[in-house]
Assembly symmetry: C2
Homo-oligomer: 339 residues x 2
DNA sequence: CTGAAAGCGCTTACAG
DNA sequence: CTGAAAGCGCTTACAG
């Protein structure tokens, strides 16, 4: 079906190819009569414009790239990614762009993917999930290629790059302030990977909240995690040696592991150890405990990133846009208070 | 960078456009001398072929589509999907195809996506994750459009459609046989969604193993799950009223929930209730319990699907190929025996 | 082994 | 509001 061309439709309706093209592309200034007849012919025949011809003539591919440098194992276990993908995919669909997906696993992948991704005619713009040092290369590459680009997350180097991020510092700050307000005094944290900006930013918020309230910094109450449940479990075991009365865990998935470690050690949540997570992604309820957490708008992050990117493409906005989305404290039972 | 055309390279080297094209496309019968000089020029200039022009002339887009009808909430919580995506993405990269991603969330999406997906010039072929009744429509659509198609999973109607699937019946059969061999007598199951072929097939394997050993079918020992941890938890609570001494859970994620329910009820795994899962995807270890499970080759499923699809596209193999991958019983501690 | 030329199916000034 | 025509940048028989 549909080896039809514009020409075929034109002949059928008795107008020129140009006119059919204008109808297809919703140009103004077409007589109602002609428009109707062309549309009818398209409908009857099932005509579909040839995408390649269109791109070639218009110099637009109407497709966006998404590059996921798979620097992290949490890609397979954290619901963050599917949610992000959903937001991106929906927004693309909404705006009539297609989405081309690149999972960058190894150096070999890069060699094949880099040229594709920066190819002028192939993608109108690209989204890069980032926040690791290792990702700087691909970002640099794209910037050099002068390709419209929006980073998901905060890149290490921010100059000249647009990004959409969540306010991680403030989110963590809010979480820890909540614990302080509830009277906790030995507040610990399981961070994200400290090679990533997410990890660093949430740690910074943690330190900021404590510092402001005159807590002395205690490195033994800070353990680096990796955004996996296992990681949360082991990190918590380490922390428990220091007898914390609270823990801010930089992701809900890790919080599940942390809770397991706490309970196995014979301590109770929240009585002995209060816990706040980060994400608020639908998770298993652990026993009858519900997790207090920082909600971040993951789907919206994806949607906004697509919108910014399309704006860059279509309106040529050339100064970098930095969008920081807000988070929200969601109080449940894992801190022992509903206030 | 790279608004260069073939013509530019040709002029630079002093050959014709055709010759440069042949070098770029690795055609045989090019003198070594010319090839070297052309390659050098390409290297120096950073020339990249225009993808749209290429597609238009060759009638090939070198891109595959992946459609995920998101009929299931498990998309967000089951590591199955990221693994599948990884396999697909790697294979595409390997074979120099790009991958375009479609998440079909609602009817509205379909209206926009269907035409794109069947557009002759846009995708050379498409992969559809399937197994739900609801997916028949998109498959039918693609078959009508005569588009090279490979289904991931077993579609409800198999005629004329190629697919790559895992031997779910046999996998489940093996799991349950293992439980029988260990002397369990009240063997229950939490199935997958019974609107899906995965769910149905694994249930069939369960029934087959029991039937063969002369067990009477007991509907109370069969509860439908939904592939989520929560679902596993609640389904198990229902099953526990029947006092099973074993349970075959149709996914590892649900098994986590089931174990939680069992332990909360004061029973022990494996002493009181033995449990076998399905997937063998890296999961949190639950306490010090390790899950006996059926390993299925998820990444390989993705890889094979891509390979079959590319074969359909490039070699025009037109009889449907049905590939069934084998599973493997992985014995750990959740059944109480290492034998 | 190489080149000239037609053709892929659109878009888009330009002219009217 | 509509059409004729140039042009987007490749591939690929065809001829030599």
């Amino acid at each position: 079906m549909s080896n039809l061309t514009l020409e075929d439709i034109a002949r059928r309706v008795g107008v020129s190819r140009s006119t059919v093209s204008r109808v297809v592309n919703n140009h103004p200034n077409i007589s109602e009569d002609v428009r109707t007849r062309v549309l009818a012919a398209i409908d009857e025949t099932g005509y579909q414009p040839n995408a390649a011809a269109r791109s070639l003539a218009s110099q637009r591919s109407q497709t966006l790239g998404l590059a996921l440098p798979q620097t992290v194992s949490s890609f397979f276990t954290d619901p963050y990614f599917p949610h992000l993908l959903k937001g991106i995919s929906e927004a693309c669909n909404q705006h009539d762009y297609a989405l081309t997906f690149f999972l960058i696993t190894c150096k070999d992948d890069e060699k094949k993917i880099f040229p594709k991704i920066s190819n002028k005619s192939f993608l109108d713009g690209v989204l890069v999930q980032s926040g690791h040092h290792g990702d700087q290369q691909i970002i640099g590459h794209l910037v050099d290629a002068n390709k419209p680009l929006v980073v998901l997350g905060r890149p290490f180097r921010v100059d000249n790059v647009s990004f959409v991020n969540v306010d991680n510092v403030k989110g963590a700050y809010t979480a820890v302030s909540h614990l302080i307000r509830l009277g906790r005094r030995r507040i610990s944290t399981i961070t994200g990977p400290l090679a990533s900006t997410v990890g660093l930013d949430r740690k910074e918020g943690f330190l900021m909240a404590l510092g402001e309230r005159g807590f002395r910094k205690n490195d033994k109450l800070i353990v680096e995690g990796d955004f996996t449940e296992q990681g949360g479990y082991y990190s918590m075991q380490t922390l428990l040696r220091e007898n914390p009365d609270a823990v801010f865990v930089a992701s809900d998935v890790m919080a599940i592991g942390a809770i397991r470690a706490i309970q196995e050690s014979g301590r109770r949540v929240p009585e002995d150890v209060a816990i706040v997570g980060f994400d608020d992604i639908p998770l298993s309820t652990i026993t009858d405990l519900e997790l207090t957490t920082i909600r971040q708008p993951v789907i919206e992050t994806g949607v906004r990133a697509v919108e910014v990117l399309i704006d860059l493409i279509e309106n040529g906005t050339d100064f970098p846009q930095h969008i920081i989305l807000d988070t929200k404290l969601v109080v449940r039972s894992s801190c022992g208070s509903k206030s």
